[in-house]
Amino acid sequence: MTIAASESTRALAERALSVRRGLIAAIHHAGSGHPGGSLSATDLLVWLWENLYREAPPNAADGGEQFVLSKGHACAALYAVGAEFGLIERAELLRFRKLGSPLQGHTHVVDLPWTGASTGSLGQGFSVAIGKALALRHRCLPGAVTVILGDGELQEGEIWEGAMFAAHHGLDRLCAIVDYNKMQSDDRNENICGLEPLPEKWRAFGWHVTEIDGHDLDAIGEAIRAARAHEGAPSAIVAHTLKGKGVSFMEGSPLWHGSVALSADETGRALRDLGAGEDEIAAWLAGSVPA
C-alpha cells in the first residue's frame, strides 16, 4: 500500500464527488432509496476501492480481499463506486431498484458476487464477514476482511455476539468500520437507543480501536493500515461522519435516511452541491449518463 500524497488525495476526493453524484441520480430515478447513509459512507468506500480493490474486485471464493457493506441500505453508494471503478455500467445506476436490475434495493450476492453478502437485515453482514475471516484463517488463504457497519445497526444483538466471538478467536484480519453519522431511521441515535461510549464498548469487547474523521481520506488510509498491522485482535474504526455529507439540505438531518423520493428539483440542487455542471445535471435528470 502506498501512502496517498496530497495530490492523489485531491484526485480521490474528486472521485468521491463523482460517486456521490451517481448515487443521487440513482436514487432519484429509483423513486426511493437511502441518500443520507449512502453519502456518509462514500469516502470510506472510495478509499477502499482505490487502494485495495482496484486491481481485482473483492470477495473471490478462493481468498484475497473480502468486503461486506453490512449497512446494506447504503448500497446506492456501493453501486456508484462499482460504476466508478468499472465493475458495472454507469447506465445501470439509472435502473437501481427496478425490476430486472441486479442493483436491488439491498445487495444480493448471487447477482453481484463482488458485493460479498446479501444484505438488508442489519447485523448479518457483520457475521458473514466474521465467517469469512475465520475461513481465510482456516484455509490458510491470503487476504483480509473489511466490513462497514451502520451506527443504528449496532443496536442489533447479533453485532455484539459477533464482536465477542471475533475477539475471542483473535480474528486480526478483520476490520470493522463504523459509519458513525449519529443518526438512524427515525431520529438521532441518542434519542432512539444511545450508543455511547462507543469506542469504549468496542475496547471492552477486546477490539483494537481507532477514531477518525470518516471524510478525511488520509485519515481513513492511516487507520486501515494500522488496523492491518495490528496483531492478535480484530480492529474497529469508529469513523465520525456526516449524514447526507456534501448535500447542503441533507447534511445532519435524519429526514434523508430513507426511503425517500428525490424530486427533480431536489436532485438538481443536490448534484449542484456535489460539483455537477448544468449539462451534467440535465443529463442525469433526463435519465442519461453524462459524458
Binding site: V109, S127, E158, E161, M164, F165
Partner: protein, 322 residues
Amino acid sequence: MTTAQAPPNLVGMSGGTLRDAFGRALVELARERDDLVVLDADIAGGTGTHHFRDACPDRFYQFGIAEQNMMAAAGGMASLGLLPVVTTFAVFCLRAVEQARLSIAYSGRKVVIAASHPGLDVGPDGGSAQCFEDLAAFRAIPGMAVLSPADPLEMRAATRAAIEWDGPVYLRTGRSPAPCVTVEGAPFELGRGSVLRDGSDVTLVACGVEVARSLAAAEELEREGISARVVNLHTLAPVDDALLERCSRETRAFVTAEDASIRGGLGSTVAESLARTAPAPIEMIGIDDVFGTSGEPEELAAHYAIDAPAIAAAARRVLVRK
C-alpha cells in the same frame, strides 16, 4: 411394491439415538472431505457433535451461546469454500431462521443446519424447549431441503446425503433412544420417500420418531383386518409428489404423523401435494395449535395423541371418509 424394503426390524429401543448417529457420521465424513467444519453453540454434548470435536478439534468451531452470529457466519464461511454444519437444538434454530434465510439460502450458500431435540422428544425440559414450528419455518424458505430421518441407521445415511446435496439443508436429528425401523445399508435418496410396509386400505405417512409409531399402528390395524401402508417421508422438501400421488390412487386415504405442528409441517406438506395431484381424505396426527409441557417423551406422545394408538384411531376415522 417395487420400492418396499426388507421388513422393519421392530426390536424396541436400540439404545442408539439419532444425535449420536449424526455425530459419528460427521466424523466418518470428515475423513473423506477436508472442507467439512462443524459449528456449535455450547451444546456439543447435546447435539452429538462432541464426537466430531474430539476427533477433529481443528475443524470444530465454538460460537458460544449466540445462534444468530453462528448461523450467518456459516454463510460467510461457505463463501470461501468451506462446508459448515451448524448444530444446535431445534428451538434455537428458530431464533436464527432469518439468518438461515438471508445469509444462507438467499445468498446461495451450501450449509447444513442440524437440529437436535425436536418436538416432544425434548421431554422434561418442557414447553419452552419443545419445538414444533421448525419444519414449517424452514420448509417455507425457498430452496431449503428439510429432512427428518426415522432412526439412527437412517440418520447416518441422511447426514451423508445432506452433506452431498447441492443446496442448503435443515436436518432434524433426535435426543431420545429410537427403535430401528430401517435396515443397515438401505438406500437413502434425498427427496424420495420409502415404503416400509405395504398395504392397500390406507397410507400412513410419517417422519422422524412417528415412523416407528406408524409401523406399530399398522400392526394393530392388521389385527382388525385393515391393510395399512407405511411411508417414511424423511424428506419434507423437496417432497416426493410422485410417491404420494401413487399412494393416493392405490389406497385413497391418508394419515400423516409427525412430532411437530401439523400446521406447516408434514400434514401440510402431504395435503399440499395431494391437493394438486390426487386429492384424498387425510387425518393429521401431530401438534395442533398448542404448546408442549414437561414429561417423558413416551408419556407426552400419549398425552398429545401422537402415539401408535392415536395413529390407528386416525386410520379408522379416515376410512369412514373414503
